[in-house]
Symmetry: C2
Subunit: 173 residues, 2 copies
DNA sequence: CATAATTACTTGGACATCCTACTAAATTGT
DNA sequence: ACAATTTAGTAGGATGTCCAAGTAATTATG
């Protein structure tokens, strides 16, 4: 019944696996080990945050992807958004949007409507049940600070700012 | 033929989707929006780095997961490591290790050997082909700075340090 | 020493992501 | 108007990750 991969504050073994790995790489004379440590840190951080979030959303029958899409739709004026727009805003592949919305639809949280003037477009429309779930889930999400744990706002801002350099260099803004 | 999701420096549209999202949340009076922005930044950064890395590794028939495992094994004294150890070091689920090693084995980069004294343990052993691929791939990986793009060492260190707070709070060290 | 508990790994299943390729609908261009 | 191009979504396939459950082998215990 024990988790096979630690994602929560269990027993700080005092060993930073990423730091150790970097030392191993340096010892072998490899280059760019600093970049490697950063990339690995991002990967691990993503794993930690995603696990916490999904654990929190599970009781609502949601996952982070579905939650993000659902909230995005709920924020629109008419509670509806074209599939393509969802992909743009969340920066995920169109096929991922289809997958996500289909699952939300299967759970009755959204419906897929045909766009009134553009037959190509499908509008993902939130249902009352969808709004209710989104609101309840958001309260919980805020409670766990969206997976950031006990990091305060300053620490979070620092992460956002620092990663902003990477995102910016990748053309995000 | 065009990518459906931008991951590379294409056309900085000048709009930071994460910042905009945070504003939308604030406008609606939700809490912990700073934490939300950080969590989303981590998710997006992971997507960017992983895409770059996998693109670079594709010519070698590798993915980041397989590459990480392969290099880890190549770093050992005997070029062999128990499945469980791989999972511990890379902090992934045992079943992920099985999946990864099986694929490496299918490509002839590692072999699965029975441990000489403990029948339960399987030793993932690197082959000569595996070492060759690992070295060649690492050269390319260093070339792209492990997906960190044009971020210099200082920027990378800042990311590693900042995310270290999160990893530490999650019990990583 | 035999049984219970633990450990190592695998199998099967659920999800999410991306890519390639295809269909349908709208827009362009001649 | 009609053909070519572009745009919006979807289907199918490959990968990776995790969880639950099951098998095999080792260790602990009475």
């Amino acid at each position: 019944m024990t988790k096979r991969v630690d994602v929560e504050p269990a027993g700080s073994d005092g060993v930073d696996l990423i730091a150790v790995a970097q030392q191993n790489w340096n010892r072998r004379g490899w280059d760019a080990t600093t970049a490697m440590a950063a990339a690995t840190s991002i990967t691990r951080s993503h794993q930690i945050v995603l696990a916490r979030i999904n654990q929190t959303l599970a009781p609502f029958g949601l996952t982070f992807s579905r939650y993000e899409a659902l909230v995005l739709i709920s924020f629109t004026k008419n509670g509806a958004l074209p599939m393509g727009k969802i992909g743009e805003r969340l920066q995920v592949h169109p096929t991922s949007v289809t997958n996500t919305v289909d699952r939300l639809e299967a759970d009755g949280l959204v419906t897929k409507e045909r766009h009134p003037t553009d037959g190509r477009t499908t509008l993902a429309t939130i249902t009352d049940a969808g709004r209710a779930i989104a609101d309840a889930a958001t309260t919980e999400m805020a409670g766990i600070r969206f997976g950031m744990g006990d990091l305060d706002d300053d620490a979070c801002d620092e992460i956002t700012d620092t990663l902003g350099v990477l995102r910016s260099s990748a053309g995000d803004f």
